[in-house]
Protein backbone atom coordinates (compact mmCIF):
# COMPACT_ATOMS: atom_id res chain seq x y z
CA UNK A 1 0.00 0.00 0.00
CA UNK A 2 1.09 3.56 -0.63
CA UNK A 3 1.69 5.90 2.30
CA UNK A 4 2.49 9.56 1.81
CA UNK A 5 5.09 10.85 4.27
CA UNK A 6 5.87 14.48 5.05
CA UNK A 7 9.03 15.46 6.93
CA UNK A 8 9.84 18.56 8.96
CA UNK A 9 12.95 20.01 10.57
CA UNK A 10 15.79 17.58 11.29
CA UNK A 11 14.04 14.59 9.72
CA UNK A 12 13.60 16.65 6.57
CA UNK A 13 17.34 17.30 6.52
CA UNK A 14 18.05 13.59 7.10
CA UNK A 15 15.64 12.57 4.34
CA UNK A 16 16.90 15.25 1.96
CA UNK A 17 13.35 15.99 0.86
CA UNK A 18 10.09 17.46 2.07
CA UNK A 19 7.91 14.47 1.30
CA UNK A 20 7.72 11.17 -0.50
CA UNK A 21 5.39 8.27 -1.12
CA UNK A 22 6.44 4.87 0.19
CA UNK A 23 5.20 1.43 -0.76
CA UNK A 24 4.64 -0.70 2.32
CA UNK A 25 3.18 -4.19 2.78
CA UNK A 26 -0.53 -4.42 3.53
CA UNK A 27 -1.29 -4.02 7.26
CA UNK A 28 1.99 -2.25 7.88
CA UNK A 29 2.09 -0.26 11.11
CA UNK A 30 3.45 3.15 12.05
CA UNK A 31 6.43 1.37 13.59
CA UNK A 32 7.00 -0.46 10.27
CA UNK A 33 6.89 2.88 8.49
CA UNK A 34 9.50 4.36 10.84
CA UNK A 35 11.77 1.34 10.37
CA UNK A 36 11.36 1.65 6.60
CA UNK A 37 12.15 5.37 6.71
CA UNK A 38 15.19 4.68 8.91
CA UNK A 39 16.50 1.98 6.57
CA UNK A 40 15.88 4.14 3.51
CA UNK A 41 17.59 7.31 4.74
CA UNK A 42 20.49 6.02 6.79
CA UNK A 43 21.93 6.25 10.24
CA UNK A 44 21.10 9.89 10.96
CA UNK A 45 17.43 9.25 10.23
CA UNK A 46 17.43 6.04 12.25
CA UNK A 47 18.72 7.90 15.30
CA UNK A 48 16.04 10.56 14.92
CA UNK A 49 13.06 8.24 14.56
CA UNK A 50 13.99 5.03 16.40
CA UNK A 51 15.49 4.02 19.68
CA UNK A 52 18.28 1.42 19.66
CA UNK A 53 15.61 -1.25 20.32
CA UNK A 54 13.83 -0.13 17.10
CA UNK A 55 10.83 1.34 18.92
CA UNK A 56 9.74 4.90 18.03
CA UNK A 57 11.58 7.79 19.67
CA UNK A 58 9.10 8.93 22.35
CA UNK A 59 9.57 12.64 21.63
CA UNK A 60 8.99 12.35 17.91
CA UNK A 61 5.78 14.06 16.83
CA UNK A 62 3.75 11.84 14.53
CA UNK A 63 0.48 12.66 12.84
CA UNK A 64 -1.58 10.22 10.77
CA UNK A 65 -4.06 12.13 8.61
CA UNK A 66 -3.51 15.18 10.86
CA UNK A 67 -4.38 13.21 14.03
CA UNK A 68 -1.60 12.84 16.57
CA UNK A 69 -0.42 9.27 17.01
CA UNK A 70 1.13 7.92 20.20
CA UNK A 71 3.02 4.65 20.63
CA UNK A 72 0.31 3.37 22.99
CA UNK A 73 -2.35 3.62 20.27
CA UNK A 74 -3.29 1.17 17.50
CA UNK A 75 -0.82 1.66 14.72
CA UNK A 76 -2.16 -0.06 11.59
CA UNK A 77 -1.91 2.14 8.51
CA UNK A 78 -4.26 2.13 5.53
CA UNK A 79 -3.79 2.72 1.83
CA UNK A 80 -3.40 6.43 1.13
CA UNK A 81 -2.70 7.51 4.70
CA UNK A 82 -0.79 10.77 5.08
CA UNK A 83 1.84 10.65 7.82
CA UNK A 84 3.73 13.68 9.12
CA UNK A 85 7.01 12.95 10.91
CA UNK A 86 8.20 15.95 12.89
CA UNK A 87 11.42 15.97 14.82
CA UNK A 88 11.25 18.01 18.03
CA UNK A 89 12.71 21.49 17.73
CA UNK A 90 13.77 23.99 20.38
CA UNK A 91 15.59 26.73 18.49
CA UNK A 92 15.17 29.94 20.40
Amino acid sequence: MRIHVRYTAQVRAAAGRNEETLDLPQAASVEDLLRSVGARHGEAMQRLVLRPDQTPQPSLLLFVNDLQWRPSEPSALSEGDQVAIMSPIAGG
Binding site: S59, L67, Q68, P88, I89, G92
Partner: protein
Protein backbone atom coordinates in the same frame (compact mmCIF):
# COMPACT_ATOMS: atom_id res chain seq x y z
CA UNK B 1 1.83 40.46 41.08
CA UNK B 2 0.92 36.97 39.94
CA UNK B 3 -2.75 36.18 39.49
CA UNK B 4 -4.36 32.76 38.87
CA UNK B 5 -6.33 31.98 35.72
CA UNK B 6 -10.07 32.45 35.82
CA UNK B 7 -12.59 29.68 35.21
CA UNK B 8 -12.26 29.87 31.43
CA UNK B 9 -8.50 29.40 31.52
CA UNK B 10 -7.77 32.99 30.54
CA UNK B 11 -6.08 35.62 32.64
CA UNK B 12 -8.58 37.48 34.80
CA UNK B 13 -9.76 40.89 33.67
CA UNK B 14 -8.29 43.90 35.51
CA UNK B 15 -11.48 44.52 37.44
CA UNK B 16 -10.94 41.09 39.04
CA UNK B 17 -7.40 42.00 40.01
CA UNK B 18 -5.91 43.97 42.83
CA UNK B 19 -3.89 47.11 42.15
CA UNK B 20 -5.49 47.98 38.83
CA UNK B 21 -3.74 50.88 37.09
CA UNK B 22 -5.80 53.00 34.73
CA UNK B 23 -4.16 54.26 31.56
CA UNK B 24 -2.68 57.73 31.51
CA UNK B 25 -3.43 60.19 28.71
CA UNK B 26 0.09 59.66 27.40
CA UNK B 27 -0.48 55.90 27.26
CA UNK B 28 -3.79 56.38 25.47
CA UNK B 29 -1.97 58.39 22.82
CA UNK B 30 0.82 55.82 22.42
CA UNK B 31 -1.43 52.76 22.19
CA UNK B 32 -4.27 54.44 20.32
CA UNK B 33 -3.86 52.50 17.07
CA UNK B 34 -3.83 49.06 18.73
CA UNK B 35 -6.81 50.02 20.88
CA UNK B 36 -8.74 50.33 17.59
CA UNK B 37 -8.45 46.53 17.26
CA UNK B 38 -11.89 44.93 17.42
CA UNK B 39 -12.50 43.31 20.78
CA UNK B 40 -9.49 44.98 22.41
CA UNK B 41 -10.04 48.68 23.13
CA UNK B 42 -8.99 50.51 26.29
CA UNK B 43 -10.09 47.57 28.41
CA UNK B 44 -7.63 45.33 26.57
CA UNK B 45 -4.85 47.87 26.99
CA UNK B 46 -5.62 48.08 30.66
CA UNK B 47 -5.19 44.31 30.89
CA UNK B 48 -1.81 44.48 29.16
CA UNK B 49 -0.67 47.18 31.55
CA UNK B 50 -1.68 45.04 34.52
CA UNK B 51 0.05 41.91 33.18
CA UNK B 52 3.48 40.42 33.77
CA UNK B 53 5.30 38.07 31.40
CA UNK B 54 8.46 35.99 31.76
CA UNK B 55 10.44 35.59 28.52
CA UNK B 56 13.17 32.96 28.50
CA UNK B 57 15.53 33.46 26.75
CA UNK B 58 15.76 36.72 24.80
CA UNK B 59 17.72 35.48 21.78
CA UNK B 60 16.37 35.26 18.24
CA UNK B 61 12.89 34.06 19.19
CA UNK B 62 12.42 35.42 22.70
CA UNK B 63 14.05 38.75 21.83
CA UNK B 64 11.47 39.38 19.11
CA UNK B 65 8.67 38.31 21.45
CA UNK B 66 9.92 40.62 24.21
CA UNK B 67 10.31 43.50 21.76
CA UNK B 68 6.70 43.31 20.63
CA UNK B 69 5.38 42.75 24.13
CA UNK B 70 7.22 45.87 25.28
CA UNK B 71 5.95 47.84 22.30
CA UNK B 72 2.40 46.72 23.08
CA UNK B 73 2.66 47.98 26.65
CA UNK B 74 2.76 44.83 28.79
CA UNK B 75 3.24 46.24 32.28
CA UNK B 76 6.12 44.09 33.49
CA UNK B 77 8.59 41.95 31.56
CA UNK B 78 10.91 39.54 33.32
CA UNK B 79 13.79 38.49 31.04
CA UNK B 80 16.05 35.51 31.71
CA UNK B 81 19.24 35.06 29.71
CA UNK B 82 22.81 34.29 30.74
CA UNK B 83 26.14 34.84 29.04
CA UNK B 84 28.04 37.47 27.14
CA UNK B 85 27.30 38.62 23.61
CA UNK B 86 29.23 36.88 20.83
CA UNK B 87 29.55 37.86 17.16
CA UNK B 88 27.56 34.77 16.12
CA UNK B 89 24.53 36.04 18.10
CA UNK B 90 24.15 39.18 16.04
CA UNK B 91 22.43 37.72 12.96
CA UNK B 92 19.26 37.07 14.92
CA UNK B 93 19.28 38.45 18.47
CA UNK B 94 17.71 41.80 17.68
CA UNK B 95 17.96 43.13 21.22
CA UNK B 96 21.76 42.90 21.03
CA UNK B 97 24.04 45.56 19.54
CA UNK B 98 27.61 45.44 18.20
CA UNK B 99 28.90 47.85 20.83
CA UNK B 100 27.90 45.30 23.46
CA UNK B 101 30.12 42.43 22.22
CA UNK B 102 31.76 40.65 25.14
CA UNK B 103 29.32 42.13 27.64
CA UNK B 104 26.27 40.46 29.26
CA UNK B 105 23.48 39.90 26.75
CA UNK B 106 20.86 40.66 29.34
CA UNK B 107 22.13 44.24 29.75
CA UNK B 108 21.83 44.92 26.04
CA UNK B 109 18.34 43.39 25.95
CA UNK B 110 17.12 45.44 28.91
CA UNK B 111 18.59 48.65 27.52
CA UNK B 112 16.96 48.16 24.10
CA UNK B 113 13.56 47.43 25.61
CA UNK B 114 13.75 50.45 27.93
CA UNK B 115 14.65 52.63 24.94
CA UNK B 116 11.68 51.24 23.05
CA UNK B 117 9.18 51.67 25.86
CA UNK B 118 10.31 53.28 29.12
CA UNK B 119 6.84 52.76 30.62
CA UNK B 120 7.37 48.99 30.85
CA UNK B 121 8.99 47.62 34.02
CA UNK B 122 11.91 45.55 32.72
CA UNK B 123 13.37 43.03 35.17
CA UNK B 124 16.55 41.52 33.73
CA UNK B 125 17.86 38.26 35.19
CA UNK B 126 21.35 37.33 34.00
CA UNK B 127 20.70 33.61 34.35
CA UNK B 128 19.09 30.95 32.22
CA UNK B 129 16.17 29.03 33.64
CA UNK B 130 17.41 26.30 35.95
CA UNK B 131 16.47 24.40 39.06
CA UNK B 132 17.69 27.31 41.18
CA UNK B 133 15.35 29.94 39.77
CA UNK B 134 12.54 28.34 37.74
CA UNK B 135 9.93 28.19 40.50
CA UNK B 136 10.46 31.78 41.61
CA UNK B 137 10.60 33.26 38.11
CA UNK B 138 7.58 31.39 36.78
CA UNK B 139 5.70 32.06 40.01
CA UNK B 140 6.31 35.79 39.77
CA UNK B 141 4.45 36.37 36.49
CA UNK B 142 1.06 35.84 34.86
CA UNK B 143 2.30 34.14 31.70
CA UNK B 144 5.46 32.54 30.30
CA UNK B 145 6.92 32.81 26.82
CA UNK B 146 9.19 29.81 26.34
CA UNK B 147 12.01 30.37 23.85
CA UNK B 148 15.12 28.68 25.23
CA UNK B 149 17.38 26.70 22.88
CA UNK B 150 17.45 23.64 25.13
CA UNK B 151 14.62 21.22 25.85
CA UNK B 152 15.72 20.93 29.48
CA UNK B 153 14.94 24.60 30.12
CA UNK B 154 11.65 24.45 28.25
CA UNK B 155 10.53 21.34 30.10
CA UNK B 156 11.51 22.82 33.45
CA UNK B 157 9.51 26.00 32.79
CA UNK B 158 6.61 23.85 31.62
CA UNK B 159 6.67 21.86 34.86
CA UNK B 160 6.54 24.97 36.99
CA UNK B 161 3.95 26.66 34.76
CA UNK B 162 1.66 23.64 35.12
CA UNK B 163 2.24 23.44 38.83
CA UNK B 164 1.49 27.17 39.28
CA UNK B 165 -1.39 27.18 36.77
CA UNK B 166 0.27 29.71 34.44
CA UNK B 167 -0.30 29.69 30.70
CA UNK B 168 2.84 29.09 28.67
CA UNK B 169 3.42 29.99 25.03
CA UNK B 170 6.08 27.76 23.51
CA UNK B 171 7.75 29.03 20.34
CA UNK B 172 10.54 27.15 18.60
CA UNK B 173 12.37 27.02 15.29
CA UNK B 174 14.97 25.08 13.32
CA UNK B 175 16.30 26.04 9.91
CA UNK B 176 13.24 27.43 8.07
CA UNK B 177 10.76 25.48 10.20
CA UNK B 178 8.98 26.95 13.20
CA UNK B 179 6.18 25.94 15.52
CA UNK B 180 4.13 27.37 18.34
CA UNK B 181 1.57 26.12 20.83
CA UNK B 182 -0.05 27.40 24.01
CA UNK B 183 -0.20 25.36 27.20
CA UNK B 184 -3.14 26.09 29.47
CA UNK B 185 -2.59 23.87 32.51
CA UNK B 186 -5.29 21.27 33.00
CA UNK B 187 -6.97 22.05 29.67
CA UNK B 188 -4.37 21.40 26.99
CA UNK B 189 -1.41 19.13 26.45
CA UNK B 190 1.68 20.40 28.23
CA UNK B 191 5.17 20.26 26.75
CA UNK B 192 5.88 17.03 28.61
CA UNK B 193 2.86 15.46 26.89
CA UNK B 194 4.58 16.21 23.58
CA UNK B 195 8.13 15.50 24.70
CA UNK B 196 8.11 12.98 27.56
CA UNK B 197 11.89 13.03 27.60
CA UNK B 198 14.59 15.30 26.25
CA UNK B 199 14.99 14.41 22.57
CA UNK B 200 18.42 12.86 22.04
CA UNK B 201 18.96 14.34 18.58
CA UNK B 202 18.66 18.03 19.49
CA UNK B 203 21.79 20.16 19.28
CA UNK B 204 22.24 23.54 20.99
CA UNK B 205 23.62 24.88 17.71
CA UNK B 206 21.09 24.97 14.91
CA UNK B 207 20.69 26.66 11.52
CA UNK B 208 18.87 29.96 11.94
CA UNK B 209 18.02 33.13 10.07
CA UNK B 210 17.01 36.03 12.28
CA UNK B 211 13.89 36.54 10.21
CA UNK B 212 12.72 32.97 10.89
CA UNK B 213 13.36 33.24 14.62
CA UNK B 214 11.71 36.67 14.63
CA UNK B 215 8.65 35.40 12.79
CA UNK B 216 7.83 32.81 15.42
CA UNK B 217 8.84 35.16 18.25
CA UNK B 218 6.42 37.78 16.95
CA UNK B 219 3.72 35.11 16.77
CA UNK B 220 4.50 34.25 20.38
CA UNK B 221 3.94 37.87 21.33
CA UNK B 222 0.61 37.88 19.50
CA UNK B 223 -0.43 34.74 21.34
CA UNK B 224 0.57 36.25 24.71
CA UNK B 225 -1.35 39.46 23.97
CA UNK B 226 -4.41 37.41 23.00
CA UNK B 227 -4.25 35.40 26.21
CA UNK B 228 -3.85 38.48 28.38
CA UNK B 229 -6.56 40.47 26.66
CA UNK B 230 -8.98 37.61 26.00
CA UNK B 231 -8.74 38.29 22.28
CA UNK B 232 -9.43 35.70 19.57
CA UNK B 233 -8.67 31.99 19.95
CA UNK B 234 -5.36 30.85 21.42
CA UNK B 235 -3.45 27.84 20.08
CA UNK B 236 -4.77 25.80 22.99
CA UNK B 237 -4.49 22.10 22.16
CA UNK B 238 -3.21 23.04 18.72
CA UNK B 239 0.25 23.18 17.22
CA UNK B 240 0.87 25.68 14.43
CA UNK B 241 3.56 24.26 12.14
CA UNK B 242 5.22 26.78 9.82
CA UNK B 243 7.28 25.66 6.84
CA UNK B 244 8.85 28.91 5.72
CA UNK B 245 10.68 27.23 2.83
CA UNK B 246 7.30 26.67 1.22
CA UNK B 247 5.42 29.40 3.12
CA UNK B 248 3.05 26.61 4.19
CA UNK B 249 1.23 26.80 7.54
CA UNK B 250 -0.70 23.94 9.13
CA UNK B 251 -2.51 23.73 12.44
CA UNK B 252 -2.77 20.24 13.91
CA UNK B 253 -4.59 19.07 17.02
CA UNK B 254 -2.39 17.73 19.81
CA UNK B 255 -3.55 15.44 22.60
CA UNK B 256 -2.90 15.27 26.31
CA UNK B 257 -0.91 12.25 27.37
CA UNK B 258 -2.93 10.41 30.02
CA UNK B 259 0.37 9.14 31.43
CA UNK B 260 2.12 12.51 31.37
CA UNK B 261 4.52 12.80 34.31
CA UNK B 262 3.73 16.51 34.66
CA UNK B 263 0.04 17.06 33.99
CA UNK B 264 -1.77 13.70 34.04
CA UNK B 265 -4.90 13.93 36.12
CA UNK B 266 -4.68 17.70 36.40
CA UNK B 267 -7.88 19.60 35.73
CA UNK B 268 -8.34 23.22 34.77
CA UNK B 269 -7.86 25.35 37.88
Amino acid sequence: MSVPLNRTGALPVPSERPGRNMLTDEERAIYEWQMWTAGFGERGQDKLKAASVLVSRVGGVGGAAAYYLAAAGVGRLVLAHAGNLRPSDLNRQILMTHDHLGKPRIESAARRLRELNPRVAIEPVGQNIGQQNAADLVGSVDLVVSAAPRFGERLLMNRHAVSRNKPLVDCAMYDLDAQITTVIPGRTPCLACLYPEEPPGWSRQFPVFGAVAGTIGAMGAVEAIKLIAGLGEPLAGKLLVCDLRQMAFRTVAIQRNPKCAVCAGRRAG
